[in-house]
Symmetry: C2
Subunit: 288 residues, 2 copies
């Protein structure tokens, strides 16, 4: 890695920064392709953040920003252009400057989840899906599923009003998807997603009634676990295909590269170049 | 060079940035001593600069800023604490954050010049000096000479009022030095400095009457030239010792390291590590 006067910056803004892994993932890749771009951490507390974000994008050599805790929600109001995922989830984790100077934000959690499914051969166009858990990550995944053409999308939450509000936002932004709130019933679903924290601990209750899972249904989990979560183990036992939580994280990275206008590659290639242990816990802490 | 979540930044702010050499000089050194610090360029135009400077110092992991064209004069009014060199020269090329959050600025052009003299064995305490040229660099050198204990300091300029104002600023900040404006007469001087641009071109007039140079006087030049300037050639022929312009630039770098609270080293060590050609013209363009 060689930094000179022509080097462009991608700033990774959050607080605290000590768990950031993005410089270790992106920079070896940029070096390997001869891209004069470098990811640098910026440890920014909440109060100065709005002014900082605008300031760094006033620089000619800032190509983009990765946004993590605690700024993902605050960023939404600072944008000039918001992707549907940002609008639906109310959070943003990537910002770039448009040629006219406006700031555009996107959110790639759900996109990472969908890319993982697509690379496993899952066809989402026309599918029936259930997302259990309507917080930030559930909202992002629901938005990405709708964008990918899911025809019938049920969102479910222990707080029914949260599910209802998410369904309304989905209907507003994705008219081609039938989105509604409802119970966490897997019976007629092609895809079932756990977007709740249930499964982080072995003795958590299951997020849905697994007796309603049919063989062939794809079951995805966002919970980062060193092994399969109880839900995924049950799903496999019932003849379902599964996607683990870490896939969502690693699959996001090429989406960021594309967003920043850089040559992309596979998640596996990035993992190999970084030399990082595929430590799921570390990725989780980072919140990439 | 490995950037991670704990990496501290020294931002090099200027516009344009393409001639910046500082990342190529500092970063190999930081890597060699295991300091988790990196110099990154920030291409900042004049209008957003004041807000940017405050914003970057709101970040917890920014250790300092190197300031170059076109921001060196503007920075002065943005500081909370100014060194005498900044006050006298009206310019600033390095900023750091004090523990209480205030921004402190310094200017190391003159300091670099003085360090070069000291390493050549020149004793400045009690000396009589002449500085010809009272612009930014002449003012900075005059301030550094006064800080180093020069007893009698004549400053001279083709615009006598400029010399008069500089003498007044020197008197205000350095009461132990007798500072006055006057003609560019080298006759009784231990040290003579050319801080005018005269000598950049072979057919420039000499900045002072060399017939008044006594053997043993130290003659320094700020003009960056691939070889000795005509003034320095004449001075050598008359038995004077000389200091070339590039010495001022390279000698500054350890001063910046100390200002930023980092382990320091010699200019020669930094040059060797960087692998840069000692291209005087490139250093000049950068304005380090």
């Amino acid at each position: 890695m060689r930094i000179d006067g022509l080097t462009e910056l991608i700033v990774h803004v959050g607080f605290p920064t000590h768990t950031f892994r993005s410089p270790l993932i992106y920079n070896p890749y940029f070096e390997s392709i001869g891209a004069n771009v470098v990811v640098v951490p910026m440890a920014c507390r909440p109060e100065p953040y709005p002014v900082l974000l605008r300031s760094v994008f006033a620089l000619d050599n800032v190509r983009g920003a990765l946004i993590t805790m605690p700024h993902k929600v605050r960023t939404v109001e600072l944008l000039d252009v918001r992707s549907p995922a940002v609008e639906v989830a109310g959070a943003c984790n990537a910002v770039r400057r448009l040629p006219d100077g406006r700031l555009e934000g996107d959110l790639f959690d759900g996109e990472g989840f969908v890319r993982g499914l697509t690379r496993k051969g899952v066809v989402l166009s026309g599918a029936r899906a259930l997302v259990v858990g309507c917080g930030g990550v559930g909202s992002a995944i629901a938005a990405a599923l709708a964008a990918a053409g899911v025809a019938d999308l049920v969102v479910s939450d222990v707080v029914p009003a949260a599910a209802q509000r998410l369904a309304e936002r989905l209907q507003r932004h994705f008219s081609r998807t039938q989105a509604r709130s409802g119970p966490a019933d897997a019976i007629d679903r092609d895809l079932v997603v756990n977007a709740t924290p249930l499964g982080m601990h072995e003795d958590d209750p299951l997020p849905l009634d697994i007796s309603r899972l049919r063989p062939g249904t794809m079951v995805g989990d966002v919970v980062l676990h060193t092994d399969l979560t109880p839900l995924l183990r049950h799903a496999q036992a019932r003849g379902c295909r599964v996607q683990v939580g870490a896939d969502m994280l690693y699959e996001q990275i090429p989406a960021y590269l594309e967003f920043f206008g850089l040559p992309s590659t596979t998640p596996e290639h990035l993992r190999a170049l970084s030399g990082l242990e595929p430590s799921v816990a570390a990725m989780h802490e980072e919140g990439v």
